[in-house]
Amino acid sequence: MKSYLGKRFVGMVAVMFMVATVTFVVIRVIPGDPAALMLGPEATAVDIEALRSRLGLDLSLATQYLTFLSDLLRGDLGNSIFLGGRPVLRILADRAEPTVCLTLIAIVVAMAVGIPSGIISASRRGSLADQATVSVAMGLASAPSFWLGLAFMQFFSVRLGWFPTSGYGDPGAEFLERMRHLALPGLVLGLVNSALITRFTRTTLLDILSDDYIRTARAKGLGEWPVIMRHAFRNALVPILTVVGLTLALLLGGAVVTETVFNIPGVGNLVVSSVLRRDYPVIGGSLLVIAGVYVLVNLAVDLAYLLIDPRVKY
Protein backbone atom coordinates (compact mmCIF):
# COMPACT_ATOMS: atom_id res chain seq x y z
CA MET A 1 0.00 0.00 0.00
CA LYS A 2 2.72 2.45 1.03
CA SER A 3 4.87 1.58 -1.98
CA TYR A 4 1.85 2.02 -4.27
CA LEU A 5 1.11 5.43 -2.77
CA GLY A 6 4.78 6.37 -3.14
CA LYS A 7 4.83 5.31 -6.81
CA ARG A 8 1.56 7.08 -7.49
CA PHE A 9 2.87 10.26 -5.85
CA VAL A 10 6.08 10.18 -7.90
CA GLY A 11 4.01 9.63 -11.08
CA MET A 12 1.77 12.56 -10.14
CA VAL A 13 4.76 14.85 -9.57
CA ALA A 14 6.21 13.79 -12.95
CA VAL A 15 2.91 14.57 -14.72
CA MET A 16 2.65 17.93 -12.93
CA PHE A 17 6.21 18.73 -13.99
CA MET A 18 5.25 17.94 -17.61
CA VAL A 19 2.05 20.00 -17.22
CA ALA A 20 4.15 22.96 -16.05
CA THR A 21 6.58 22.47 -18.95
CA VAL A 22 3.75 22.31 -21.51
CA THR A 23 2.22 25.46 -19.99
CA PHE A 24 5.57 27.25 -20.17
CA VAL A 25 6.00 26.24 -23.82
CA VAL A 26 2.45 27.35 -24.71
CA ILE A 27 2.52 30.78 -23.06
CA ARG A 28 6.19 31.74 -23.27
CA VAL A 29 7.79 29.92 -26.21
CA ILE A 30 5.14 29.59 -28.97
CA PRO A 31 4.04 33.26 -29.06
CA GLY A 32 7.55 34.46 -29.94
CA ASP A 33 7.27 37.74 -28.04
CA PRO A 34 4.40 37.46 -25.52
CA ALA A 35 4.89 41.12 -24.48
CA ALA A 36 4.24 42.40 -28.02
CA LEU A 37 1.27 40.07 -28.36
CA MET A 38 -0.21 41.21 -25.02
CA LEU A 39 0.12 44.93 -25.73
CA GLY A 40 -1.19 44.69 -29.31
CA PRO A 41 -0.06 46.31 -32.56
CA GLU A 42 -0.33 49.90 -31.31
CA ALA A 43 2.16 49.51 -28.45
CA THR A 44 5.44 51.44 -28.64
CA ALA A 45 8.84 49.73 -28.50
CA VAL A 46 9.43 51.34 -25.07
CA ASP A 47 6.17 49.90 -23.66
CA ILE A 48 7.01 46.44 -25.02
CA GLU A 49 10.52 46.58 -23.59
CA ALA A 50 9.18 47.69 -20.19
CA LEU A 51 6.73 44.76 -20.09
CA ARG A 52 9.42 42.33 -21.26
CA SER A 53 11.63 43.47 -18.42
CA ARG A 54 8.75 43.33 -15.88
CA LEU A 55 7.86 39.76 -16.87
CA GLY A 56 11.50 38.66 -17.12
CA LEU A 57 11.14 37.98 -20.84
CA ASP A 58 14.48 39.66 -21.55
CA LEU A 59 16.27 36.78 -19.85
CA SER A 60 17.34 33.59 -21.65
CA LEU A 61 14.65 30.92 -22.10
CA ALA A 62 16.51 28.54 -19.77
CA THR A 63 16.60 31.17 -17.01
CA GLN A 64 12.94 32.01 -17.60
CA TYR A 65 12.05 28.31 -17.34
CA LEU A 66 13.95 27.82 -14.08
CA THR A 67 12.43 30.99 -12.61
CA PHE A 68 8.97 29.82 -13.73
CA LEU A 69 9.47 26.45 -11.98
CA SER A 70 10.89 27.93 -8.78
CA ASP A 71 8.05 30.49 -8.59
CA LEU A 72 5.60 27.65 -9.09
CA LEU A 73 7.11 25.65 -6.23
CA ARG A 74 6.60 28.68 -3.98
CA GLY A 75 2.96 28.94 -5.12
CA ASP A 76 3.62 32.10 -7.11
CA LEU A 77 1.70 32.00 -10.40
CA GLY A 78 2.65 35.58 -11.30
CA ASN A 79 0.53 38.72 -11.49
CA SER A 80 -2.20 39.66 -13.93
CA ILE A 81 -1.28 42.22 -16.57
CA PHE A 82 -4.72 43.78 -16.74
CA LEU A 83 -6.60 43.05 -13.49
CA GLY A 84 -4.77 45.69 -11.46
CA GLY A 85 -1.62 43.59 -11.30
CA ARG A 86 -3.20 41.29 -8.69
CA PRO A 87 -1.62 37.88 -7.98
CA VAL A 88 -3.07 35.21 -10.28
CA LEU A 89 -3.59 32.76 -7.42
CA ARG A 90 -5.70 35.32 -5.54
CA ILE A 91 -7.78 36.05 -8.67
CA LEU A 92 -8.35 32.31 -9.22
CA ALA A 93 -9.31 31.83 -5.55
CA ASP A 94 -11.88 34.65 -5.84
CA ARG A 95 -13.39 33.03 -8.93
CA ALA A 96 -13.27 29.43 -7.67
CA GLU A 97 -16.60 29.26 -5.76
CA PRO A 98 -19.00 29.45 -8.75
CA THR A 99 -16.90 27.00 -10.79
CA VAL A 100 -16.57 24.46 -7.96
CA CYS A 101 -20.30 24.68 -7.13
CA LEU A 102 -21.29 24.48 -10.82
CA THR A 103 -19.08 21.42 -11.31
CA LEU A 104 -20.49 19.71 -8.20
CA ILE A 105 -24.11 20.39 -9.23
CA ALA A 106 -23.33 19.11 -12.73
CA ILE A 107 -21.66 15.91 -11.50
CA VAL A 108 -24.64 15.18 -9.21
CA VAL A 109 -27.02 15.70 -12.17
CA ALA A 110 -24.82 13.60 -14.48
CA MET A 111 -24.74 10.72 -11.95
CA ALA A 112 -28.44 11.02 -11.06
CA VAL A 113 -29.35 10.78 -14.76
CA GLY A 114 -26.54 8.60 -16.09
CA ILE A 115 -26.40 5.74 -13.58
CA PRO A 116 -30.16 4.92 -13.33
CA SER A 117 -30.66 5.23 -17.09
CA GLY A 118 -27.64 2.98 -17.69
CA ILE A 119 -29.07 0.40 -15.24
CA ILE A 120 -32.55 0.49 -16.84
CA SER A 121 -31.03 0.25 -20.30
CA ALA A 122 -28.85 -2.76 -19.42
CA SER A 123 -31.62 -4.57 -17.54
CA ARG A 124 -33.93 -4.34 -20.57
CA ARG A 125 -31.40 -4.93 -23.29
CA GLY A 126 -32.80 -4.64 -26.81
CA SER A 127 -36.14 -3.23 -25.62
CA LEU A 128 -37.62 0.06 -26.77
CA ALA A 129 -36.57 1.62 -23.43
CA ASP A 130 -32.98 0.49 -24.03
CA GLN A 131 -32.87 1.86 -27.57
CA ALA A 132 -34.51 5.13 -26.50
CA THR A 133 -32.06 5.58 -23.60
CA VAL A 134 -29.00 4.91 -25.77
CA SER A 135 -30.30 7.26 -28.48
CA VAL A 136 -31.08 10.06 -26.01
CA ALA A 137 -27.65 9.63 -24.39
CA MET A 138 -25.93 9.82 -27.76
CA GLY A 139 -28.10 12.81 -28.71
CA LEU A 140 -27.11 14.65 -25.52
CA ALA A 141 -23.44 13.89 -26.16
CA SER A 142 -23.82 15.28 -29.69
CA ALA A 143 -25.51 18.55 -28.74
CA PRO A 144 -23.20 21.52 -28.16
CA SER A 145 -23.53 22.55 -24.50
CA PHE A 146 -23.85 26.26 -25.39
CA TRP A 147 -26.73 25.49 -27.76
CA LEU A 148 -28.56 23.40 -25.17
CA GLY A 149 -27.82 26.11 -22.58
CA LEU A 150 -29.38 28.84 -24.73
CA ALA A 151 -32.42 26.65 -25.47
CA PHE A 152 -32.93 25.85 -21.76
CA MET A 153 -32.43 29.51 -20.83
CA GLN A 154 -35.05 30.58 -23.37
CA PHE A 155 -37.59 27.98 -22.21
CA PHE A 156 -37.10 27.67 -18.43
CA SER A 157 -35.89 31.19 -17.62
CA VAL A 158 -37.45 33.52 -20.19
CA ARG A 159 -40.72 31.71 -20.98
CA LEU A 160 -41.50 29.94 -17.69
CA GLY A 161 -39.53 32.25 -15.38
CA TRP A 162 -38.42 29.37 -13.15
CA PHE A 163 -34.74 30.32 -13.03
CA PRO A 164 -32.69 33.53 -13.30
CA THR A 165 -31.50 34.04 -16.89
CA SER A 166 -27.84 34.60 -16.08
CA GLY A 167 -25.26 35.79 -13.55
CA TYR A 168 -24.46 34.72 -9.99
CA GLY A 169 -26.78 36.98 -7.99
CA ASP A 170 -26.02 40.43 -6.64
CA PRO A 171 -22.80 40.91 -4.67
CA GLY A 172 -23.44 39.67 -1.16
CA ALA A 173 -26.38 37.50 -2.24
CA GLU A 174 -27.36 34.59 0.05
CA PHE A 175 -25.78 31.19 -0.68
CA LEU A 176 -29.13 29.68 -1.74
CA GLU A 177 -29.75 32.58 -4.11
CA ARG A 178 -26.34 32.01 -5.69
CA MET A 179 -27.11 28.31 -6.07
CA ARG A 180 -30.46 29.19 -7.71
CA HIS A 181 -28.43 30.97 -10.39
CA LEU A 182 -26.30 27.86 -10.88
CA ALA A 183 -29.21 25.38 -11.05
CA LEU A 184 -29.96 25.72 -14.78
CA PRO A 185 -26.32 25.86 -15.96
CA GLY A 186 -25.57 22.88 -13.69
CA LEU A 187 -28.51 20.97 -15.17
CA VAL A 188 -27.33 21.65 -18.74
CA LEU A 189 -23.70 20.77 -18.02
CA GLY A 190 -24.76 17.64 -16.12
CA LEU A 191 -27.17 16.44 -18.83
CA VAL A 192 -24.61 16.87 -21.62
CA ASN A 193 -22.04 14.93 -19.63
CA SER A 194 -24.44 12.26 -18.33
CA ALA A 195 -24.27 10.49 -21.69
CA LEU A 196 -20.82 9.05 -21.03
CA ILE A 197 -21.94 7.70 -17.63
CA THR A 198 -25.13 6.19 -19.13
CA ARG A 199 -23.30 4.37 -21.90
CA PHE A 200 -20.51 3.18 -19.63
CA THR A 201 -22.88 1.94 -16.90
CA ARG A 202 -24.87 0.04 -19.54
CA THR A 203 -21.81 -1.58 -21.15
CA THR A 204 -20.25 -2.54 -17.80
CA LEU A 205 -23.49 -4.03 -16.47
CA LEU A 206 -24.06 -5.98 -19.71
CA ASP A 207 -20.57 -7.50 -19.34
CA ILE A 208 -21.22 -8.44 -15.73
CA LEU A 209 -24.73 -9.80 -16.39
CA SER A 210 -23.20 -12.52 -18.58
CA ASP A 211 -20.95 -13.76 -15.74
CA ASP A 212 -21.43 -17.14 -14.05
CA TYR A 213 -22.24 -15.79 -10.58
CA ILE A 214 -25.15 -13.86 -12.04
CA ARG A 215 -26.48 -17.07 -13.59
CA THR A 216 -26.10 -18.70 -10.16
CA ALA A 217 -27.97 -15.85 -8.48
CA ARG A 218 -30.81 -16.20 -10.98
CA ALA A 219 -30.80 -19.99 -10.66
CA LYS A 220 -31.33 -19.80 -6.91
CA GLY A 221 -34.53 -17.87 -7.63
CA LEU A 222 -33.46 -14.32 -6.93
CA GLY A 223 -35.60 -11.66 -8.66
CA GLU A 224 -34.16 -9.63 -11.53
CA TRP A 225 -33.84 -6.35 -9.60
CA PRO A 226 -32.02 -7.87 -6.58
CA VAL A 227 -29.71 -9.62 -9.08
CA ILE A 228 -28.94 -6.34 -10.79
CA MET A 229 -28.69 -4.10 -7.73
CA ARG A 230 -27.16 -6.47 -5.18
CA HIS A 231 -24.82 -8.48 -7.41
CA ALA A 232 -24.20 -6.78 -10.76
CA PHE A 233 -24.26 -3.10 -9.84
CA ARG A 234 -22.01 -3.47 -6.80
CA ASN A 235 -19.41 -5.14 -8.99
CA ALA A 236 -19.78 -2.43 -11.64
CA LEU A 237 -19.03 0.34 -9.13
CA VAL A 238 -15.26 0.48 -9.73
CA PRO A 239 -15.46 1.03 -13.51
CA ILE A 240 -18.39 3.42 -13.04
CA LEU A 241 -16.37 5.41 -10.50
CA THR A 242 -13.55 5.67 -13.06
CA VAL A 243 -15.88 7.17 -15.63
CA VAL A 244 -17.40 9.52 -13.02
CA GLY A 245 -13.83 10.77 -12.33
CA LEU A 246 -13.28 11.25 -16.05
CA THR A 247 -16.59 13.11 -16.33
CA LEU A 248 -15.58 15.39 -13.46
CA ALA A 249 -12.47 16.31 -15.43
CA LEU A 250 -14.57 16.90 -18.58
CA LEU A 251 -16.87 19.17 -16.58
CA LEU A 252 -13.95 21.48 -15.81
CA GLY A 253 -13.58 22.07 -19.56
CA GLY A 254 -17.34 22.25 -20.09
CA ALA A 255 -17.58 24.94 -17.40
CA VAL A 256 -15.54 27.28 -19.64
CA VAL A 257 -18.33 27.40 -22.22
CA THR A 258 -21.29 27.11 -19.82
CA GLU A 259 -20.05 29.97 -17.62
CA THR A 260 -19.78 32.16 -20.71
CA VAL A 261 -23.33 31.31 -21.89
CA PHE A 262 -24.84 32.04 -18.46
CA ASN A 263 -22.42 34.88 -17.63
CA ILE A 264 -21.24 33.24 -14.39
CA PRO A 265 -18.14 34.94 -12.93
CA GLY A 266 -16.15 31.72 -12.50
CA VAL A 267 -12.74 30.45 -13.58
CA GLY A 268 -14.04 29.47 -17.05
CA ASN A 269 -15.34 32.96 -17.71
CA LEU A 270 -12.04 34.36 -16.40
CA VAL A 271 -10.08 32.21 -18.85
CA VAL A 272 -12.18 33.30 -21.85
CA SER A 273 -11.91 36.99 -20.97
CA SER A 274 -8.15 36.60 -20.27
CA VAL A 275 -7.66 34.93 -23.66
CA LEU A 276 -9.51 37.77 -25.41
CA ARG A 277 -7.33 40.29 -23.45
CA ARG A 278 -4.21 38.11 -23.89
CA ASP A 279 -3.47 38.21 -20.16
CA TYR A 280 -0.96 35.36 -20.34
CA PRO A 281 -0.07 35.09 -16.62
CA VAL A 282 -3.77 34.51 -15.83
CA ILE A 283 -4.17 32.05 -18.73
CA GLY A 284 -1.06 30.12 -17.67
CA GLY A 285 -2.10 30.07 -14.00
CA SER A 286 -5.59 28.86 -14.87
CA LEU A 287 -4.21 26.11 -17.12
CA LEU A 288 -1.88 24.93 -14.35
CA VAL A 289 -4.53 24.95 -11.62
CA ILE A 290 -7.19 23.20 -13.72
CA ALA A 291 -4.73 20.55 -14.95
CA GLY A 292 -3.56 20.11 -11.33
CA VAL A 293 -7.16 19.55 -10.18
CA TYR A 294 -7.57 16.97 -12.98
CA VAL A 295 -4.48 15.08 -11.82
CA LEU A 296 -5.66 15.17 -8.18
CA VAL A 297 -9.16 13.97 -9.14
CA ASN A 298 -7.58 11.00 -10.93
CA LEU A 299 -5.55 10.18 -7.83
CA ALA A 300 -8.61 10.51 -5.60
CA VAL A 301 -10.56 8.12 -7.88
CA ASP A 302 -7.75 5.56 -7.67
CA LEU A 303 -7.74 5.78 -3.89
CA ALA A 304 -11.54 5.61 -3.72
CA TYR A 305 -11.35 2.09 -5.21
CA LEU A 306 -10.00 1.00 -1.83
CA LEU A 307 -13.13 2.23 -0.09
CA ILE A 308 -15.71 0.73 -2.42
CA ASP A 309 -14.08 -2.57 -3.38
CA PRO A 310 -12.53 -4.69 -0.60
CA ARG A 311 -10.79 -6.83 -3.24
CA VAL A 312 -8.63 -3.90 -4.34
CA LYS A 313 -5.33 -3.89 -2.47
CA TYR A 314 -2.39 -1.71 -3.32
Binding site: V26, I30, A143, F146, W147, L150, V275
Partner: protein
Protein backbone atom coordinates in the same frame (compact mmCIF):
# COMPACT_ATOMS: atom_id res chain seq x y z
CA UNK B 1 -2.36 -10.23 -54.38
CA UNK B 2 -0.72 -10.24 -50.94
CA UNK B 3 -2.35 -11.64 -47.85
CA UNK B 4 -2.52 -8.20 -46.29
CA UNK B 5 -4.41 -6.78 -49.27
CA UNK B 6 -6.85 -9.71 -49.24
CA UNK B 7 -7.35 -9.21 -45.52
CA UNK B 8 -7.92 -5.51 -46.02
CA UNK B 9 -10.48 -6.14 -48.76
CA UNK B 10 -12.25 -8.71 -46.59
CA UNK B 11 -12.20 -6.23 -43.70
CA UNK B 12 -13.74 -3.48 -45.78
CA UNK B 13 -16.35 -5.88 -47.12
CA UNK B 14 -17.28 -6.73 -43.52
CA UNK B 15 -17.51 -3.02 -42.71
CA UNK B 16 -19.76 -2.35 -45.71
CA UNK B 17 -21.89 -5.42 -44.90
CA UNK B 18 -22.49 -4.22 -41.33
CA UNK B 19 -23.16 -0.66 -42.50
CA UNK B 20 -25.79 -1.99 -44.92
CA UNK B 21 -27.35 -4.29 -42.31
CA UNK B 22 -27.63 -1.57 -39.65
CA UNK B 23 -30.13 0.81 -41.14
CA UNK B 24 -29.42 3.51 -38.53
CA UNK B 25 -25.76 3.52 -39.53
CA UNK B 26 -26.68 3.61 -43.23
CA UNK B 27 -28.98 6.56 -42.54
CA UNK B 28 -26.30 8.40 -40.54
CA UNK B 29 -23.71 7.90 -43.28
CA UNK B 30 -26.25 9.12 -45.86
CA UNK B 31 -26.82 12.25 -43.73
CA UNK B 32 -23.05 12.84 -43.48
CA UNK B 33 -22.66 12.45 -47.25
CA UNK B 34 -25.56 14.85 -47.82
CA UNK B 35 -23.96 17.42 -45.48
CA UNK B 36 -20.62 17.03 -47.23
CA UNK B 37 -22.36 17.42 -50.62
CA UNK B 38 -24.17 20.57 -49.46
CA UNK B 39 -20.92 21.96 -48.04
CA UNK B 40 -18.91 21.30 -51.21
CA UNK B 41 -21.56 22.47 -53.67
CA UNK B 42 -23.04 25.24 -51.47
CA UNK B 43 -22.57 27.83 -54.24
CA UNK B 44 -24.70 25.79 -56.66
CA UNK B 45 -27.24 24.41 -54.19
CA UNK B 46 -28.50 27.76 -52.93
CA UNK B 47 -29.58 30.59 -55.22
CA UNK B 48 -28.92 33.14 -52.45
CA UNK B 49 -25.69 34.95 -51.65
CA UNK B 50 -24.38 34.29 -48.12
CA UNK B 51 -23.27 37.91 -47.75
CA UNK B 52 -26.02 39.91 -49.53
CA UNK B 53 -27.52 42.26 -46.91
CA UNK B 54 -31.24 43.01 -47.29
CA UNK B 55 -32.47 45.17 -44.43
CA UNK B 56 -36.10 44.80 -45.59
CA UNK B 57 -35.97 41.02 -45.17
CA UNK B 58 -34.22 40.85 -41.78
CA UNK B 59 -35.28 38.19 -39.22
CA UNK B 60 -37.86 36.56 -41.53
CA UNK B 61 -39.08 33.13 -40.39
CA UNK B 62 -38.52 30.02 -42.54
CA UNK B 63 -40.48 30.16 -45.82
CA UNK B 64 -40.43 28.70 -49.32
CA UNK B 65 -38.09 31.51 -50.40
CA UNK B 66 -35.73 31.36 -47.38
CA UNK B 67 -35.96 27.76 -46.18
CA UNK B 68 -34.28 28.45 -42.82
CA UNK B 69 -35.41 32.10 -42.60
CA UNK B 70 -33.10 35.12 -42.63
CA UNK B 71 -30.67 36.57 -40.09
CA UNK B 72 -30.34 40.02 -38.50
CA UNK B 73 -28.92 41.44 -41.78
CA UNK B 74 -31.54 39.80 -44.00
CA UNK B 75 -29.04 37.19 -45.24
CA UNK B 76 -30.35 33.75 -46.20
CA UNK B 77 -29.75 31.43 -43.23
CA UNK B 78 -29.84 28.17 -45.24
CA UNK B 79 -26.96 29.39 -47.42
CA UNK B 80 -24.97 30.48 -44.38
CA UNK B 81 -25.62 27.22 -42.52
CA UNK B 82 -24.45 25.02 -45.43
CA UNK B 83 -21.43 27.27 -45.91
CA UNK B 84 -20.81 27.01 -42.17
CA UNK B 85 -20.83 23.25 -42.72
CA UNK B 86 -18.03 23.66 -45.25
CA UNK B 87 -15.85 25.40 -42.63
CA UNK B 88 -16.74 23.10 -39.74
CA UNK B 89 -16.47 19.83 -41.68
CA UNK B 90 -13.20 20.90 -43.32
CA UNK B 91 -11.63 22.03 -40.04
CA UNK B 92 -12.79 18.75 -38.44
CA UNK B 93 -11.29 16.67 -41.27
CA UNK B 94 -7.97 18.53 -41.21
CA UNK B 95 -7.85 18.19 -37.41
CA UNK B 96 -8.27 14.42 -37.79
CA UNK B 97 -5.44 14.27 -40.37
CA UNK B 98 -3.14 16.41 -38.17
CA UNK B 99 -3.79 14.53 -34.94
CA UNK B 100 -3.70 11.09 -36.60
CA UNK B 101 -0.40 11.87 -38.34
CA UNK B 102 1.46 13.19 -35.30
CA UNK B 103 -0.39 11.01 -32.78
CA UNK B 104 0.46 7.84 -34.71
CA UNK B 105 4.15 8.78 -34.95
CA UNK B 106 4.30 9.68 -31.24
CA UNK B 107 2.39 6.57 -30.18
CA UNK B 108 4.42 4.20 -32.36
CA UNK B 109 7.69 5.67 -31.05
CA UNK B 110 6.47 5.29 -27.44
CA UNK B 111 5.15 1.79 -27.99
CA UNK B 112 8.10 0.46 -29.97
CA UNK B 113 11.13 2.04 -28.28
CA UNK B 114 11.08 1.16 -24.58
CA UNK B 115 13.71 3.76 -23.68
CA UNK B 116 11.51 6.69 -24.64
CA UNK B 117 8.18 5.13 -23.66
CA UNK B 118 8.19 6.63 -20.16
CA UNK B 119 8.76 10.14 -21.55
CA UNK B 120 6.12 9.76 -24.28
CA UNK B 121 3.64 8.42 -21.75
CA UNK B 122 4.20 11.33 -19.38
CA UNK B 123 3.82 13.85 -22.22
CA UNK B 124 0.54 12.18 -23.23
CA UNK B 125 -0.69 12.21 -19.59
CA UNK B 126 0.26 15.88 -19.19
CA UNK B 127 -1.41 16.96 -22.44
CA UNK B 128 -4.57 15.07 -21.53
CA UNK B 129 -4.74 16.82 -18.16
CA UNK B 130 -5.76 20.04 -19.93
CA UNK B 131 -9.45 20.35 -20.84
CA UNK B 132 -9.80 20.28 -24.67
CA UNK B 133 -11.41 23.66 -25.17
CA UNK B 134 -9.18 25.40 -22.63
CA UNK B 135 -5.94 24.26 -24.26
CA UNK B 136 -7.33 24.96 -27.75
CA UNK B 137 -8.45 28.50 -26.89
CA UNK B 138 -5.04 29.24 -25.32
CA UNK B 139 -3.14 27.86 -28.32
CA UNK B 140 -5.29 29.87 -30.73
CA UNK B 141 -4.62 33.05 -28.77
CA UNK B 142 -0.86 32.55 -29.03
CA UNK B 143 -1.00 31.43 -32.67
CA UNK B 144 -3.35 34.35 -33.57
CA UNK B 145 -6.94 33.45 -34.54
CA UNK B 146 -7.37 32.00 -38.04
CA UNK B 147 -8.73 28.81 -39.62
CA UNK B 148 -5.25 27.27 -39.78
CA UNK B 149 -4.62 28.13 -36.10
CA UNK B 150 -7.88 26.36 -35.17
CA UNK B 151 -6.73 23.25 -37.07
CA UNK B 152 -3.27 23.31 -35.47
CA UNK B 153 -4.69 23.98 -31.97
CA UNK B 154 -7.34 21.26 -32.18
CA UNK B 155 -4.79 18.96 -33.84
CA UNK B 156 -2.40 19.44 -30.90
CA UNK B 157 -5.25 18.92 -28.41
CA UNK B 158 -6.34 15.61 -29.98
CA UNK B 159 -2.85 14.26 -30.84
CA UNK B 160 -2.41 12.66 -27.36
CA UNK B 161 -5.75 10.81 -27.75
CA UNK B 162 -4.50 9.21 -30.98
CA UNK B 163 -1.04 8.67 -29.50
CA UNK B 164 -2.49 6.77 -26.54
CA UNK B 165 -4.35 4.36 -28.84
CA UNK B 166 -1.36 4.01 -31.21
CA UNK B 167 1.01 3.35 -28.28
CA UNK B 168 -1.25 0.71 -26.71
CA UNK B 169 -1.71 -1.09 -30.04
CA UNK B 170 2.02 -0.90 -30.87
CA UNK B 171 2.89 -2.41 -27.47
CA UNK B 172 0.82 -5.48 -28.43
CA UNK B 173 1.98 -5.75 -32.05
CA UNK B 174 5.70 -5.38 -31.28
CA UNK B 175 5.63 -8.62 -29.26
CA UNK B 176 4.22 -10.68 -32.15
CA UNK B 177 6.37 -13.28 -33.92
CA UNK B 178 6.35 -11.66 -37.37
CA UNK B 179 7.92 -8.51 -35.94
CA UNK B 180 10.70 -10.65 -34.38
CA UNK B 181 11.11 -12.38 -37.74
CA UNK B 182 11.45 -9.05 -39.55
CA UNK B 183 14.04 -7.91 -36.99
CA UNK B 184 16.03 -11.14 -37.38
CA UNK B 185 15.94 -10.76 -41.18
CA UNK B 186 17.56 -7.34 -40.75
CA UNK B 187 14.62 -5.23 -41.92
CA UNK B 188 15.32 -1.61 -40.94
CA UNK B 189 13.33 -0.35 -37.95
CA UNK B 190 11.59 2.42 -39.91
CA UNK B 191 10.39 -0.18 -42.41
CA UNK B 192 9.16 -2.51 -39.66
CA UNK B 193 7.17 0.39 -38.23
CA UNK B 194 5.74 1.49 -41.58
CA UNK B 195 5.13 -1.85 -43.30
CA UNK B 196 4.39 -4.18 -40.39
CA UNK B 197 3.32 -2.23 -37.30
CA UNK B 198 1.26 0.55 -38.94
CA UNK B 199 -1.07 -1.70 -40.99
CA UNK B 200 -1.76 -3.77 -37.87
CA UNK B 201 -2.67 -0.83 -35.66
CA UNK B 202 -4.75 1.02 -38.27
CA UNK B 203 -8.17 -0.36 -37.21
CA UNK B 204 -8.30 1.25 -33.76
CA UNK B 205 -6.78 4.41 -35.22
CA UNK B 206 -9.55 4.67 -37.84
CA UNK B 207 -12.18 4.25 -35.11
CA UNK B 208 -10.47 6.87 -32.92
CA UNK B 209 -10.21 9.20 -35.93
CA UNK B 210 -13.98 8.99 -36.45
CA UNK B 211 -14.65 9.99 -32.83
CA UNK B 212 -12.05 12.78 -33.02
CA UNK B 213 -13.87 14.12 -36.09
CA UNK B 214 -17.03 14.37 -33.94
CA UNK B 215 -15.18 16.01 -31.00
CA UNK B 216 -13.41 18.44 -33.35
CA UNK B 217 -16.71 19.62 -34.87
CA UNK B 218 -18.09 20.23 -31.35
CA UNK B 219 -14.89 21.97 -30.22
CA UNK B 220 -14.72 24.15 -33.35
CA UNK B 221 -18.34 25.18 -32.80
CA UNK B 222 -17.52 26.02 -29.16
CA UNK B 223 -14.49 28.09 -30.16
CA UNK B 224 -16.46 30.00 -32.81
CA UNK B 225 -19.25 30.56 -30.29
CA UNK B 226 -16.74 32.02 -27.81
CA UNK B 227 -15.35 34.27 -30.55
CA UNK B 228 -11.97 32.55 -30.40
CA UNK B 229 -12.21 30.56 -33.62
CA UNK B 230 -12.04 31.54 -37.27
CA UNK B 231 -12.70 35.12 -38.39
CA UNK B 232 -16.34 36.19 -37.74
CA UNK B 233 -16.73 37.03 -41.46
CA UNK B 234 -16.47 33.35 -42.34
CA UNK B 235 -19.78 31.60 -41.55
CA UNK B 236 -19.43 28.78 -39.03
CA UNK B 237 -22.14 26.92 -37.12
CA UNK B 238 -20.90 28.20 -33.74
CA UNK B 239 -20.44 31.73 -35.07
CA UNK B 240 -24.00 31.85 -36.48
CA UNK B 241 -25.39 30.78 -33.07
CA UNK B 242 -23.26 33.41 -31.33
CA UNK B 243 -24.51 36.17 -33.63
CA UNK B 244 -28.12 34.98 -33.40
CA UNK B 245 -28.35 34.50 -29.62
CA UNK B 246 -29.40 38.11 -28.96
CA UNK B 247 -32.47 37.55 -31.19
CA UNK B 248 -33.33 34.23 -29.56
CA UNK B 249 -36.79 35.46 -28.48
CA UNK B 250 -37.74 36.98 -31.84
CA UNK B 251 -35.96 34.64 -34.24
CA UNK B 252 -35.23 31.29 -32.60
CA UNK B 253 -34.50 29.70 -36.02
CA UNK B 254 -31.14 31.52 -35.98
CA UNK B 255 -30.15 29.13 -33.22
CA UNK B 256 -32.11 26.00 -34.07
CA UNK B 257 -30.81 25.25 -37.57
CA UNK B 258 -27.03 25.59 -37.05
CA UNK B 259 -27.38 23.77 -33.71
CA UNK B 260 -29.29 20.94 -35.38
CA UNK B 261 -26.64 20.65 -38.08
CA UNK B 262 -23.91 20.37 -35.42
CA UNK B 263 -25.86 17.81 -33.37
CA UNK B 264 -26.86 15.69 -36.40
CA UNK B 265 -23.34 15.61 -37.86
CA UNK B 266 -21.77 14.73 -34.48
CA UNK B 267 -24.49 12.12 -33.81
CA UNK B 268 -23.91 10.53 -37.24
CA UNK B 269 -20.15 10.44 -36.74
CA UNK B 270 -20.53 8.82 -33.31
CA UNK B 271 -22.85 6.18 -34.77
CA UNK B 272 -20.38 5.53 -37.59
CA UNK B 273 -17.54 5.28 -35.03
CA UNK B 274 -19.54 2.82 -32.92
CA UNK B 275 -20.30 0.68 -35.98
CA UNK B 276 -16.65 0.70 -37.10
CA UNK B 277 -15.53 -0.28 -33.60
CA UNK B 278 -18.01 -3.15 -33.53
CA UNK B 279 -16.75 -4.43 -36.88
CA UNK B 280 -13.05 -3.92 -36.27
CA UNK B 281 -12.95 -5.29 -32.72
CA UNK B 282 -12.92 -9.10 -33.08
CA UNK B 283 -14.63 -9.49 -29.69
CA UNK B 284 -17.58 -7.40 -30.85
CA UNK B 285 -17.65 -8.51 -34.51
CA UNK B 286 -19.90 -11.52 -33.99
CA UNK B 287 -22.35 -9.44 -32.00
CA UNK B 288 -22.37 -6.73 -34.66
CA UNK B 289 -23.07 -9.09 -37.50
Amino acid sequence: MSGTEEGARGGWRAVLAVVWRRKVVTASLAILLLMAFLAVFADWVSPHSPTAIRAARRLRPPSTVNWFGTDEYGRDLFTRVILGGRTSLLIGALTVLFSCFFGTILGMIGGYFRRVDMLVNRVIDAMMAFPDILLAITLISVLRPSASSVVVALGIVYTPRVARVARASTLVVRELAFIDAARVLGVPTWRILLSHVLPNISSPLIVQGTFIYAYAILAEAGLSYLGAGVSPEIPTWGGIINAGQQYIGRAPWLMWFPGLFIAVSVFSLQLAGDALRDVMDPRLRREAS
